[in-house]
């Protein structure tokens, strides 16, 4: 590989093909930027499937009784929707796309530590996602257990559980390997002078995320393996008829899946922490506090899994511990919010597209987080657990948090990635429609939940009709916004006007190299001498 060092410094990574043709210049490339884009395209494709399933559910829920599908289809729809969204989209989401693309650049490296492993992770991701999606079509019908695969139902049902579970298991490996790669990259490949405390926030959040990926994913791996063993060999780990304990399954599942929600949100917070200083032309407020809170979330987030099981009959001691820790883990998130808002104070703010996404992120994230507090309180949780309230909470924080940050990051780094700028007026139009649709879609769910409408109900009592109509209409508004956004980006990537090197006036390393970046990012590894986010 070292022989073709003699490349033209001006050639961008998009032009540099390594002598490969057609699709091979993508699927055989070990360039972290191309791999980032591979992830972007694959994630976007699954996202279309996922959201379409979501919209189908909303159409079903527009009126009581069978509207467009029956119980079995609905159950399968929310299961596959949940599995796709969680395991295929928001968990890999920001780390795999923007982490891959930006991490090496932001820390001044030419690539990640193990480029081949990086490409392998993508292949594993594709293999896993194909398994998951194949469960839709093959054999006994799509799985119908919910994305949580709760035992004992998950090994009694006759539907395609195995491919879905196996797919989730395989995806876990992809996640682990990406995390491992990033950790070694951050530990070993920072440019000279880039000390830990000069590193931008986005790499820091990736660092925290990577640890969670590394340490939590194996637990769900082994749990899913046990479910597979259960289905094939009838071992009886979680089968009450053989003495197994279904609650233990829930413990193991959430030991992973709670930290997983922080896998989703940490890089999102990182992206927001990049966007806000850039558009406020101001050093990020409380850099150290943001770093410390990132690590605190990663660490404490490991010990609160039980808040998903408050009504499962755990001991009072466990409930006490989990509830109090749940409240404590909210503090670092609060700290971040305060620091972001303070960064805006006395800044010089340009409310451009990425900033609009970031500001709306803060808003919906607060709603999601604060309803999380309501869920975390024992007494209230008993009432709203497993109702539409929970569905509202996690769409606000997963879609509103991670999703908004994803779109924000996409609009922020788009000119760097493609070297072209999108149409800002259309982007703003799309954003406002999307935002309004979002609130209309998920807002009523809180009310429904408080009124007692259980989740995973394809049919409901007529009492709940009103809010459901509003919610379904919101979904349609959102679809409109989404289509505008996607078409705008899609067109601009091909034919938008050429973007400058630093269109937003950012200070981090990615803004000091050409757009799009050359194959090896830097002609010469930079030396860092001043703190990050310095505007002077």
């Amino acid at each position: 590989m070292s022989e073709n060092k003699q490349h033209d410094a001006q050639k961008s990574y998009l032009e540099e093909t390594g002598g490969r043709k057609g699709i091979f210049k993508w699927i055989l490339s070990t360039d972290h930027k191309r791999i980032g884009l591979l992830y972007l395209y694959s994630i976007m494709s699954w996202f279309f499937i996922g959201v379409t399933l979501g919209v189908l559910m909303k159409l079903e829920l527009i009126a009581p009784g069978i509207t467009i599908m029956g119980a079995q289809s609905y159950n399968a729809t929310f299961t596959v929707h949940g599995v796709i969204m969680i395991f295929l989209i928001v968990i890999p989401g920001l780390p795999a796309v923007f982490g891959n693309f930006m991490l090496p650049i932001q820390i001044g490296a030419k690539d990640v530590a193990f480029p081949k492993l990086n490409l392998l992770s993508w292949y594993i991701y594709i293999a896993g996602s194909i398994l998951v999606v194949s469960s839709l079509f093959a054999g006994g019908g799509p799985p119908d257990t919910g994305w949580t695969f709760y035992a004992p139902y998950s090994f009694k049902t006759g539907t395609n559980m195995l491919p879905a579970v196996l797919g989730a298991f395989v995806l876990g490996f992809s996640s682990i390997l990406t995390g491992l790669n990033f950790l070694v990259t951050i530990h070993r490949l920072r440019a000279p002078g880039m000390t830990w405390l000069k590193m931008p926030v986005f790499p820091w959040t990736l660092y925290g995320t990577a640890w969670i990926q590394l340490l939590a994913t194996p637990i769900v791996g082994i749990t899913l393996l046990m479910v597979i063993g259960e289905r094939i060999f009838n071992i009886g780990f979680f089968d009450p008829a053989k003495g197994g304990d279904p609650i233990l399954y829930q413990h193991l599942f959430w030991i992973y899946s709670h930290p997983a929600v922080y896998i989703m949100i940490l890089p999102a917070m990182g992206a927001i922490s990049e966007i806000i200083p850039t558009f406020a032309r101001k050093t990020i407020f409380g850099y150290r506090a943001i770093i410390v809170s990132t690590l605190a979330i990663a660490f404490v987030g490991y010990f609160v899994w039980g808040h998903h099981m408050f009504t499962s009959g755990m001991s009072g001691t466990a409930l006490f511990t989990f509830s109090i820790l749940t409240f404590i883990v909210a503090i670092p998130s609060a700290i971040k919010v305060f620091n972001w808002v303070s960064t805006m104070h006395q800044g010089s703010i340009s409310a451009d597209v990425p900033f609009l996404w970031a500001a709306s992120f803060i808003f919906v994230f607060m709603i999601g987080g604060l309803t999380g507090l309501i869920l975390g309180a024992l007494a209230v949780n008993v009432h709203v657990h497993d109702t539409a309230f929970v569905v509202g909470h996690f769409h606000f924080i997963v879609f509103g948090g991670t999703g908004f940050a994803f779109f924000g990051a996409l609009h922020y780094w788009f000119p760097k990635i493609y070297g072209r700028m999108y149409d800002r007026a259309w982007a703003k139009t799309g954003w406002i429609i999307f935002f309004i649709g979002f609130i209309t879609l998920y807002g009523p769910m809180f009310y429904l939940g408080i009124r007692g409408m259980p989740r995973r109900y394809f049919d409901y009592l007529p009492d709940y009709h009103g809010p459901n109509i509003i919610s379904s209409l919101g979904a349609l508004v959102m679809v409109t916004g989404f289509v505008i956004i996607v078409i705008n980006l899609f067109k601009s990537a091909r034919s938008g006007e050429k973007a400058e090197m630093n269109p937003w006036g950012g200070t981090n390393l990615e803004w000091r190299i050409p757009s799009p970046p050359p194959l090896e990012n830097f002609d010469e590894i930079p030396t860092i001498d001043k703190a990050t986010y310095k505007y002077d």
């Binding site: 340490l215 609650i247 030991i255 010990f303 039980g306 755990m314 001991s315 009072g316 466990a318 511990t321």
Partner: protein, 94 residues
Amino acid sequence: MAEEKHHITSYKTYLLVLVALIIFTLLSVTITQIELSRWATVAALLIAGIKSTFVLLVFMHLKFDLRIFRVMVGLIISLLVVVIFITMLDFLFR
């Protein structure tokens, strides 16, 4: 970065550790075969802990390696212990 020097552990150290490990194994077998009731498990786990410390420090070179590796291993093992502990909070007090 390839320039930092490697510590070379002598064969003798390895052999000594191996002998110690085997002795501990036999010890744990004997202890648990005599009637110590519930302390047997504690003793067996304690010995397993000692054995794994040996393996980690000498066989896996943690003793001679960068400090960061030791710190990481320590943290990860405590993490696992805490997770087991919190899970047991449920079952012990149910």
